[in-house]
Symmetry: C2
Subunit: 213 residues, 2 copies
DNA sequence: CGTACTTTTGAATCGCATCAAATCTGGTGG
DNA sequence: CCACCAGATTTGATGCGATTCAAAAGTACG
């Protein structure tokens, strides 16, 4: 199994050999609620959701992952508390939970890296929450470029439709917002790249929204 | 300093003596964005929010904490990436960051417990993100009760206005939504409690997911 | 009591979701 | 090489739900 660079540096060598790749078709289940966690799933491509059946019988989505671990929490629970569903055809790396938890006990360096990873994840998720709390698509897009981008450039890896889902808006609305932003010379669109033109260091000349609170 | 049970079991003995208690008045700031993390704050009572100033000067709530650590990520960062504000009079335990990071290197058992805690936090934040991705206030409220509540009951400790901030909506809209939900017999409101009433299986195609690829 | 805050209701407006449909794109097979 | 298809991108029209601004009623507290 050829691990992606990120996993290779994160996981200790002894664990590498126990990792296997897997492909899931659309709507396949990676695991089911109630099962004992055996693998940690690292999503390489496609998309996986964690869902649970709500009190009213509807399915509640707990999480969507396109890249990275699906269920870091499976380390600490005896049973899954939700289902994992491949929303599209999905490629993953399966890492045995047992190997990880053993290594965490034996390898302090690995523990440190794992803590780093989780801390980054926390920080990243906080930014994501902040973005999702913004009420306009425009703000979310600009915030995305400012916080996730590098030097005012944000790479759009998986298409705008997918980006729309991440921003919590419909793709139509995102298309329109991007078109408007480009028209106003606030951003530039290349293939696979969103670029912010002028940082918003001027006064709120364009601002039509008020300061709340 | 008398530590609460949870902290006592989480933190290694050598750290205990370096912990101190502190009281903050309403609207006091525990730390400011940009400052170098010196303490980790564990909330005992009251309420602390992590906030950032949005693009237009409005305050965006990243997280609310009523019990537990406020900023786990401060271990690995040189500067805070948000402010911490006491929403009401708040009692905390201050744990020196230095003592923790030293202990993490020396005490594998503590590392494991720390990993457990971070994993919980990740899980919790994922739920928050998922909730903020929902387009209607109604869905967010129901999701909140389902995921954060216990047996269909969710305690509203600090008022609905504060809750509205956490849900990323205006308080007026939240009041209206709650009133409507109660009118439809979907929830019941007591003082300091939101309770979900009968599971309604008659229209389970409503909240169903709709994921774009 | 008065003050400050939360809770509540009202009305107008606006942004986004929704539904629809047209173009564009890459990939597949005849 | 072209026909064809599935998916992404784009534009249009419409309605809903949340924001916004406003104000009244309830509540806690010194």
């Amino acid at each position: 199994m050829v691990l992606p660079p990120h996993l290779k540096t994160l996981l200790p060598k002894p664990v590498h050999d126990f990792c296997t790749g897997a492909l899931y078709k659309k709507l396949d289940r990676l695991f089911l609620i109630g099962q004992e966690p055996e693998w940690m799933f690292y999503v390489l491509s496609g998309e996986v959701t964690l869902e649970r059946t709500g009190l009213r019988g509807e399915s509640v989505i707990l999480q969507r992952t396109r890249l990275g671990f699906v269920s870091e929490a499976s380390l600490q629970v005896a049973k899954y508390h939700c289902d994992a569903v491949a929303i599209s055809d999905t490629q993953v790396v399966k890492v045995p939970v047992k190997a990880i938890s053993e290594s965490l006990k034996l390898d302090p360096e690995f523990s440190n890296r794992w803590i780093q990873m989780l801390s980054s994840e926390v920080k990243h998720l906080r930014l994501h929450c902040e973005r999702l709390s913004m009420k306009s698509i425009r703000d979310r897009v600009l915030h995305l470029i400012q916080t996730e981008g590098t030097g005012g450039k944000y790479p759009v890896m998986t298409g705008l439709k997918s980006l729309a889902g991440e921003l919590g808006v419909t793709h139509e609305a995102l298309y329109r917002t991007l078109a408007a932003l480009e028209k106003e010379q606030l951003i530039k669109r290349s293939s696979g790249l969103l670029e912010m033109k002028r940082p918003d260091n001027s006064k709120e000349n364009n601002g039509h929204r008020k300061i709340s609170n």
